[in-house]
């Protein structure tokens, strides 16, 4: 970590059923992440992990509080500006991969760069680099249906990194993977984290993943109950 603040969220709350019986999915939460962190968000089902990730990722609006990403309060951004902000600053990895089935692995990754209007030469270079990193250079032209779950999730990670984001949010990235694929994916994520200082914040139930996180934030009933200090990872 180099001490540069990437995420600084204060007093954020998200309430459902505000008019009838209010349910606090996220209740007055503070999250502070610095560049290069590899943080797990843990907690039982319904504790608000996905909601918190959605709020930090700008996919959902907080009812109160402010979320600063690189100093920009994303709660103040308009809908279209928020979409543009996500495109250039945040990478997403979803539990069920969510690759576009009609696009090849390469096109799935290129899509983000197309949306960013990145020149072709830069796209080609980035695609090559990313597929080398996820060790799927031989699967560039495969459709998602032709890839295993683990391979699809690695492509999803490459897609999340394609835009060179400030940080990557991953919602249960290993939930649909077997143990070998999950370990492989974690190796890749940790290597990217260490070598390229990419910040990861991921929700998980998976104990193997939690064990390899350098920081663990525990969420219960929408509140942070513990936040372990970052620990140095000695091996991957």
């Amino acid at each position: 970590m180099n001490g540069k603040t990437v995420i600084d969220a204060h007093n954020i709350s998200k309430v459902y059923n505000r008019e009838t019986i209010p349910v606090y999915a996220v209740n007055n939460v503070h999250v502070h992440l610095e560049r290069g962190e590899f943080t797990a968000l843990v907690g039982p089902s319904g504790s608000g992990k996905t909601t918190l990730l959605n709020l930090i990722g700008g996919l959902d609006r907080a009812d109160s509080g402010e979320i600063l990403v690189n100093g920009i309060d994303i709660t103040k951004l308009s809908g279209s500006k928020l979409i543009d902000f996500r495109l250039h600053n945040i990478g997403f990895v979803f539990q069920s991969f969510n690759l576009i089935p009609v696009l090849t692995a390469r096109e799935n990754v290129e899509l983000i760069m197309h949306l960013q209007r990145m020149p072709r030469a830069a796209r080609d270079q980035r695609v090559k680099q990313l597929f080398d990193e996820i060790q799927l250079s031989d699967k560039l032209n495969s459709r998602p249906a032709e890839l295993s779950g683990g391979q699809q999730q690695r492509v999803a990670v490459a897609r999340a990194l394609a835009s060179k984001p400030q940080f990557v949010l991953a919602d249960e990235p290993t939930a649909n993977l077997d143990s070998k694929s999950a370990a492989n994916l974690l190796d890749i994520m940790l290597r990217l984290n260490q070598e390229e200082q990419i910040t990861f914040l991921f929700s998980t139930h998976d104990q193997r993943v939690i064990e390899r996180a350098r920081r663990v934030i525990t969420l219960v009933d929408g509140k942070i109950t513990s936040d372990t200090a970052p620990v140095k990872v000695t091996s991957t």
Partner: protein, 405 residues
């Protein structure tokens, strides 16, 4: 091809069966629309040709008051004008007519008729009356007072060849004149009302009865090319400032109106067909959006803005719509070409009705090349309009909700 177009193209093939059904329905609908346009074009073309080639000619010249009053005294000089007109460039043929309105009486009844006094040889080049003779011979000179009548009138008045009829009308001095004639031929054109009210005599005989001498009432002109109509009419107006010069459009305004309104009707029919198809396209696209809710939510989450998402859905709709179009164009072109060569017999739909409206039973449809731009615009508008609702539905999806689907 951009990434969005590539995605749209591949998306429409995700459910091949559904896409092919909608493409086939668009192709069939468009084919139906093009066929209607072609049929109307063929019918109208035939109708215009009938009016020009078989009835009025391209241009007619009259005394300025004749068409309003039809009094036999409103005459024009025969030889002077006729010879001048025949020498004009672009003129194929010209004929002089003596015209009056009168009453045709037989033992079984009477009927109002328009009586044309013609020179049989000249008239062949104008109205091709000789080609329309169904019974008898074209102005048999053995008969002293020959008359040629239409089949519709013959049926109505129960007249046959050699039947005797009496024509009554007023001459230039407003004196009632009656004369007997014998039917030498019965003609039949594609215009039953025209056949019912038009009879032909020899010009010299009618002139004698009307006391018009060598004066005539009408000069009918056929041109080599339809395109020379307005220019020639203007030239005639300059040459004969004392005469009323009218084109077939003014002589037969109902035909001109038909020409202009049929195009509009054709487009209206096409729009209705495409509108019906649009519901199918909208339904297909809404289904596609519903099936891909999660995927669309993910695209928005990753940073696809509303314009791009809108374009993605719109491209899919446009591809879906336009893919059926070439098939429709090729199939309808081949179909129309076949019937253009062999004719399409519509007598089964009511031979008499067709004739009542002055249409031929055998129609030669013409491919509506002149309306292709309009067709393309209608199809494109259908595609865009059909894409709007599904695109709006997609735009309104919230990524967090869509991702949960």
């Amino acid at each position: 091809m951009t990434m969005l177009m590539r995605m749209a193209w591949r998306n429409i093939w995700r459910n091949k069966g559904r896409s092919l059904v909608i493409m086939a329905s668009i192709a069939l609908g468009l084919m139906a629309g093009i066929s209607i346009l072609a049929l109307y074009k063929g019918m109208i073309h035939a109708k215009v040709r009938t009016v020009i080639d078989r009835e009025s000619g391209h241009i007619q010249l009259h005394h300025p008051h004749f068409r309003d009053d039809q009094h036999p005294a409103y005459t024009i000089a025969d030889t002077l004008a006729l010879n001048q007109i025949r020498q004009q460039p672009g003129v194929q043929a010209a004929a002089a007519r003596v015209v009056t309105a009168g009453m045709l009486t037989t033992t079984s009844g009477s009927a109002g008729v328009n009586i044309y006094g013609i020179d049989p040889a000249d008239e062949q080049a104008i109205s091709k009356l000789d080609k329309k003779i169904r019974e008898g011979s074209y102005f048999d000179t053995q008969t002293r007072h020959p008359i040629v009548i239409g089949k519709k009138l013959a049926d109505k008045m129960k007249l046959k060849l050699k039947s005797k009829v009496v024509l009554t009308f007023v001459d230039t001095a407003n004196t009632m004149v009656a004369a007997a004639f014998r039917v030498v031929a019965i003609y039949e054109s594609d215009n039953a009302p025209f056949d019912e009210r038009t009879v032909y005599l020899l010009r010299a005989q009618l002139s004698g009865l009307l006391s018009t001498g060598r004066q005539i009432h009408e000069l009918a002109v056929i041109l080599h090319r339809d395109e020379e109509l307005d220019a020639t009419a203007s030239a005639f107006s300059a040459m004969f400032p004392d005469l009323r010069v009218e084109t077939w459009k003014e002589i037969s305004p109902e035909t001109d109106l038909m020409v202009s309104t049929t195009d509009q009707y054709s487009y209206i029919i096409l729009v209705i067909i495409m509108l019906a198809l649009a519901f199918g396209i909208v339904n297909t696209m809404l289904m596609a959006i519903l099936e891909r809710t999660r995927e669309i939510g993910m695209l928005v989450a990753l940073g696809m803005n509303k314009l791009r998402l809108f374009l993605l859905i719109l491209y899919e709709t446009i591809f879906l719509t336009l893919l059926g179009s070439p098939v429709a164009l090729i199939c309808s072109f081949l179909l129309i070409r076949y019937f253009n060569r062999h004719g399409l017999d519509l007598s089964g739909f009511g031979q008499e009705m067709m004739k009542q409206f002055g249409f031929q039973n055998l129609v030669y449809p013409e491919f509506p090349w002149d309306k292709l731009a309009g067709l393309v615009m209608i199809v494109a508008a259908t595609a865009i309009l059909s894409g709007l609702l599904p695109a709006l539905r997609a735009l309104n999806l919230k990524p967090t909700e869509a991702l949960r689907k």
